[in-house]
């Protein structure tokens, strides 16, 4: 069973008058419960691939399926629905809504989904404790460290059990110790909850945690090392 599947996906950007190839015929399947790292030099296509798999961007051609459902041909509203219910995101920065507390940030997705307040509170309390933020539920992002903010973002990404969690350079703004803690958290989530993780990074430390390592160059997959298969 695949959590996400891309078939011959192409994406071309306009940069001034020039066409820039973002993805050049990428085909990829990620199993449910997989832990994949995408690595590439800057501009290699990893963020573009994450955006396409997450329904944030549409490919020019090819197919993208999330949890068995094709998403590349959906409308904006339908894509928003898929993102809300099937995908969790952790971005490099500006991950949290500053006017909401840690708990409210975690509850944000659930509230948009229409989950009842009592259930929201229970799940957010549990997940914040799981990511090591018990007692900080009512803090706003400005009163939290970068590592704590990323943990809140991770908690928000997984709290409604999405099919996949996509993380784009989640450790880029963290010191190595905090980054290590965050990756241990990702590993625990992957192992304990079976959460499918796809992380775009150029951090060697992060790659060390992945079960599968995919290297991209100029919008193409050039290397795919699956430690589980081997």
């Amino acid at each position: 069973m695949y959590a996400v599947r891309c078939v011959n996906v192409r994406k071309i950007y306009k940069q001034g008058d020039e066409d820039v190839i973002g993805l050049d015929g990428v085909s990829l399947e990620v199993k449910k419960g997989g832990f994949v790292c995408l690595r590439s030099p800057s501009g290699g296509g990893k963020t573009t691939l994450l955006n396409v798999m997450g329904g944030l961007d549409r490919p020019d051609s090819g197919e993208v399926l999330v949890a068995g459902k094709r998403i590349d041909n959906l409308s904006k509203g339908q894509l928003a629905h898929i993102r809300l219910h099937q995908i969790g995101f952790v971005f490099q920065a500006y991950n949290l809504i500053p006017v909401l507390t840690a708990r409210e940030n975690v509850e944000f997705v659930m509230q948009v989904q229409g989950v009842q307040a009592v259930e929201r509170r229970q799940r957010s309390t549990e997940i914040l404790a799981e990511v090591g933020l018990a007692g900080l539920e009512d803090r706003r992002p400005a009163k939290m460290s970068g590592g704590q903010q990323q943990r809140v973002a991770v908690a928000r990404a997984i709290v409604s059990n999405p099919a996949i969690v996509l993380a784009d350079e989640p450790t880029a703004n963290l010191d190595s110790r905090t980054a290590g803690h965050l990756m241990e958290l990702f590993v625990a989530l992957n192992e304990n909850h079976g959460t499918t993780l796809i992380i775009a990074t150029h951090d060697q430390m992060v790659m060390g945690y992945a079960k599968r390592l995919i290297r991209m160059l100029d919008g193409k997959l050039v290397e795919d090392i699956d430690h589980e298969a081997s």
């Binding site: 509203g77 629905h81 500006y94 809504i97 909401l100 509230q111 948009v112 989950v115 928000r156």
Partner: protein, 409 residues
């Protein structure tokens, strides 16, 4: 519901992210709404004053005439004094007061000067509750009966004639046969009207005395009727018209004095224009605040969209910020306007600019009139226009592409 709740919470908190900017915008809205409501109350008061003074200056709310009187307002087009049936009907129709009058053009000559006036024969008992003259007596006495042979003049006319209470003047007019009808009257009282031009225009004598002078028996020129409120005159007018029948013409005040009625219509239009003008001024502040707020939060908006919030909810969130700001501003502005008008309910003394006020047909005292309907109109117009003004930043926010918004510098 969840999306709406989180959208409203975000709207409220985002407003206070930059308290100084929000406070300044709020102050603009409050001052704008206060100015809007207060000025409307003042203008309403001015027009009400014009209308009430105008109505008190003889027309009443409804008048009954000979059908030819309006085309030819002479002594030849008269009505009989109301018989018992009509008098009983008038008393049963919710009429507050009514009075029959004789009205003729006349010349008054003192030993020093002469002036043309409208000479009005009244029954002081029925006239007192209906028009200004009994209330505005400033010197001497009011008429004591329909057969009183005394003469009441306005202050300015007395000054122009160079005469005074107690002196005699000669009043000259024409009878129905176009013969000169004249006699001497002693000035028994002087009135001071709200509008000085009235003082030069009208002189009052006993109705029976004037009927005798003109030789018209018990006929009268007009029957003026006062109802409870000039704004609700239509029903009264219909009832009187039905009671009087075809033998006489019945007209409401707004037909008798087109200037006054047009002022009422102009005022309604002015209120709307004034609200829109003030709103346009304050909308610049409002839209500027919202645009700044949206531009500052591009990444955040992108994040919310990436997490699955629908563009319509983003749009609603920005509109909600605008409506909350306007709602608070309207509430404070309305309360301030009410608090400003309350101490002025006794009227604002404008005697220092009385000449200018008189040109507009307004008395020396201006009483602001704060109407619930004006406050509701202002509130609705500000909210509706506020939504339109906020649409631009709101639509901008809802049209962001999540990927571009998140990565925006």
């Amino acid at each position: 519901m969840g999306e709406i709740a989180i959208g409203l919470r975000l709207a409220w908190r985002n407003l206070w992210r930059n308290p100084r900017r929000t406070a300044i915008t709020l102050a603009v809205v409050v001052v704008g709404v206060w100015g809007m409501i207060f000025m409307i109350a003042v203008m309403r008061g001015m027009v009400d004053g014009m209308l009430l003074d105008g109505i008190r200056s003889l027309p009443g709310h409804v008048q009954i005439h000979n059908p030819s009187f309006r085309d030819d307002p002479t002594i030849n087009n008269l009505l009989p004094t109301p018989n018992n049936n009509l008098a009983a009907a008038l008393n049963d129709l919710g009429v507050v007061a009514w009075s029959a009058r004789v009205r003729v053009p006349a010349v008054i000559m003192s030993e020093r000067n002469s002036r043309g006036v409208t000479l009005i024969g009244i029954d002081p008992a029925t006239e007192a509750p209906l028009s200004f003259v009994a209330d505005d007596m400033a010197e001497g006495r009011f008429l004591e009966g329909a057969e009183d042979v005394g003469l009441i003049l306005g202050r300015r006319l007395v000054d122009r004639l160079g005469t005074e209470v107690g002196k005699r003047v000669v009043v000259m007019t024409q009878d129905p046969d176009n013969e000169i009808a004249d006699r001497g009257f002693r000035i028994v009282g002087v009135y001071e009207a709200q509008v000085a031009s009235t003082e030069e225009s009208y002189a009052f004598v006993g109705r029976g005395t004037l009927q005798s002078l003109l030789g018209i028996g018990d006929q009268v020129s007009e029957i003026a009727v006062l109802g409870a409120d000039y704004r609700d005159v239509e029903a009264l007018y219909q009832r009187i018209d039905a009671a009087v029948g075809d033998g006489a013409e019945v007209l409401p005040w707004y037909e008798l004095n087109r200037y006054l009625s047009s002022m009422l219509g102009v005022m309604d239009g002015f209120v709307l224009v004034w609200i829109v003008v003030i709103f346009l001024a304050l909308s610049f502040g409002l839209v500027n605040t919202l645009i700044m707020a949206v531009f500052e939060r591009v990444r955040e908006i992108g994040l919310m969209m990436a997490l699955g919030m629908k563009p319509a909810v983003i749009l609603g969130q920005v509109l909600a910020e605008s409506l909350i700001l306007l709602g608070i501003g309207l509430l404070i502005g309305d309360i301030l306007a009410w608090a400003t008008v309350q101490p002025l309910r006794g009227g604002i003394d404008l005697s220092v600019v009385s000449d200018g006020m008189e040109m507009m047909g307004v008395g020396n005292v201006l009483t602001p009139s704060l109407r619930a309907s004006d406050v509701v109109l202002a509130t609705v117009v500000v909210l509706v226009l506020g939504i339109f003004a906020s649409l631009f930043p709101a639509v901008c926010a809802s049209r962001y592409h999540p990927v571009e918004a998140i990565t925006k510098d």
